[in-house]
Assembly symmetry: C2
Homo-oligomer: 354 residues x 2
């Protein structure tokens, strides 16, 4: 069975072997040596030299909520750009945390541009930050993060830019320092080709200054994580075996180089989309990320097509929320979703009776 869901992605053998290594106690020089290597690999992954990086035991949602909780306080004005299932979560989370501010809500599959975002910010009294979902996994829509962040920092230099990079970082171009991002998160089960359960963050100096000291056991606040990471350590019992997997993935990514990996994701996406267009199919988002394609084929029931593909050994995802039953989603992340595999899926789609 070829797993082609946009998370989890298949775990390569070298990652699975790494994960099954014997555990080492985390309060040790051995652990710190491993964690130092991981932190260095994460700096490369996020493309940051000045930023502070680290890991969290969390799914993407858990990690994003820890990030947001740590950076914004009740009654602060935060703008959330929402255009799908996951970005909607950050809007709901902000309401629960009693942020003031606004939600810029776009239809699922549409994207917000810098003008719309700036217009919203200009209506706010003292905007403190913004939460942007780089690639919205429910639709595959991609924000032009570089352009938006540049425009934001030009007009609102103190605005904290928080990015959900769960389905973009490690799969396609992302430059934490160059784009002036303040906080970003990635989750293991996407471009990092790892099991779910581990997330990684990067924080700018300004974001670090925003963190408020808390008691030693507060797992929901980044403050302690950042303090301990400075000593190559972790405030709680870390998921050592998942860190082995992350270490292996980061070594692979560094040995391959990010541009080569980004290019491979992009190539798989292009091959797949060209084939879909040829069949008269339709891509859902206005602007699509490289990491996944959300699409439909005319005259095809998406649920039936999903089942037929699975019967042939290709496990794709369907739509979520309002898109349930209306689209299919296929991942281009990781070495097991490359252009050759995309050709196989296209062949199965061409053979599907319409």
């Amino acid at each position: 069975m070829k797993i082609l869901t946009p998370g989890p992605v298949p775990i390569p053998d070298f990652v699975r072997e790494a994960i099954s290594q014997a555990v080492i106690p985390h309060r040790s020089a051995e652990f710190e040596e491993m964690y130092a290597e991981i932190l260095s690999g994460l700096k490369y992954l996020f493309q940051t030299e000045k930023g502070k990086v680290g890991t969290l035991i969390a799914s993407g949602t858990g990690g994003m909520e820890i990030l947001m909780h740590s950076l914004f306080r009740p009654t602060e004005e935060v703008l959330i750009v929402s255009n799908g299932k996951f970005s909607q979560r950050w809007a709901d989370y902000g309401k629960m945390e009693n942020w003031e501010g606004k939600i810029l809500e776009k239809e699922w599959g549409k994207i917000a541009d810098k003008e719309e975002i700036l217009a919203q910010l200009h209506q706010m009294a003292a905007p403190r930050g913004i939460v942007l979902t780089h690639c919205e996994t429910s639709t595959g829509a991609l924000l032009d993060l570089e352009e938006i962040a540049f425009a934001l920092k030009s007009q609102f230099p103190d605005l904290l830019i928080v990015v959900d990079g769960v389905t973009s970082i490690a799969a396609q171009a992302f430059y934490f320092d160059d784009w002036h991002i303040d906080a970003a998160l990635v989750a293991g089960q996407k471009g990092l080709m790892n099991p779910a359960g581990l997330a990684a963050y990067a924080l700018s100096e300004v974001a670090c200054d925003r963190l408020q000291p808390t008691f030693a056991g507060d797992f929901h606040n980044l403050y302690n994580y950042v303090q301990w990471a400075a000593r190559n350590s972790y405030p709680f019992t870390p998921a050592v075996n998942l860190l082995y997997g992350l270490q292996a993935a980061l070594r692979y990514i560094q040995a391959s180089s990010l541009p080569v990996i980004w290019n491979s994701t992009q190539r798989a996406a292009r091959v797949f989309r060209a084939g879909i267009r040829e069949m008269g199919g339709k891509m859902l988002p206005d602007v699509a990320a490289e990491s996944l394609t959300a699409f439909s084929l005319p005259g095809c029931d998406s649920q039936a097509l999903l089942a037929a593909l699975k019967a042939q050994g290709f496990w794709l995802s369907g739509g979520q929320g309002p898109l349930k039953g209306k689209i299919l989603r296929i991942s281009h992340m990781g070495p097991q979703a490359d252009a050759a595999v995309m050709e196989e899926v296209l062949a199965a789609l061409r053979a599907y009776p319409r």
Copy 2:
């Protein structure tokens, strides 16, 4: 190297092999079938028929804080019994969450009895719940949970009893239903012989009724987890590979039976403590759990002893907080810390020059 730290414990080969299986997408009948088996195994583990069980992506601390956050609201009166590093965390957490109530603070290594606890509760206006740390990992001290819970429910039938079972459940006797516990948590890297990163909970009907609905993406509130577990599913991307490991451990525990496992832990603890007593050594806690021993040897510098043992292939832990440098801690959890291994450590201790 024999890992004998009281968490993480060594991961048996059958668990490591299980974890390295290929990932399956979680929105599927295949996942639900696996999760149904895990939930059934957890009911056996917690010894509950009526309770609701489930898993969380979290370390022990993360899991306990999710449990407490879900069950108590600001200004409610909660009693925390604190006698070490981890129970102190729950006291700190309660302060942060703005609970009213009290902290019954005992010296590290000492335990509270039912009379002291009841006396504290009688001084409170409307006690809503209590947080008890069954085995305090920093000292190995064990509360008499059965007796305390019986006394509490006799005098305060509506009191919610929340138990940190991180280092007790799966290692020694624990009966969720019979002892009338309302909420309990265990973490993977202890008696469950798994990597850290996954925790499991049990909730009584009364505890479930306390949960308040929240938005779909709230990872910090048990409400959604319980709703989804009723359909053998999980509200977020679950740590599928860690669940494979949990499944393997639960199968092993059910095949062996809990009493056999509890007995094996107890036997390792007895053998070890008899040897330490023979050498004139001292056990730290008044009443010790079976899962670990915190001890010191007269005339021995604990740090030097720790280093000497590690050089011989036995990796134990030292003390934490005020006990740093004063004690050693050794795990009796899991098949790789059995009586035979304890004899080996004792031989090394006997040979240590004093």
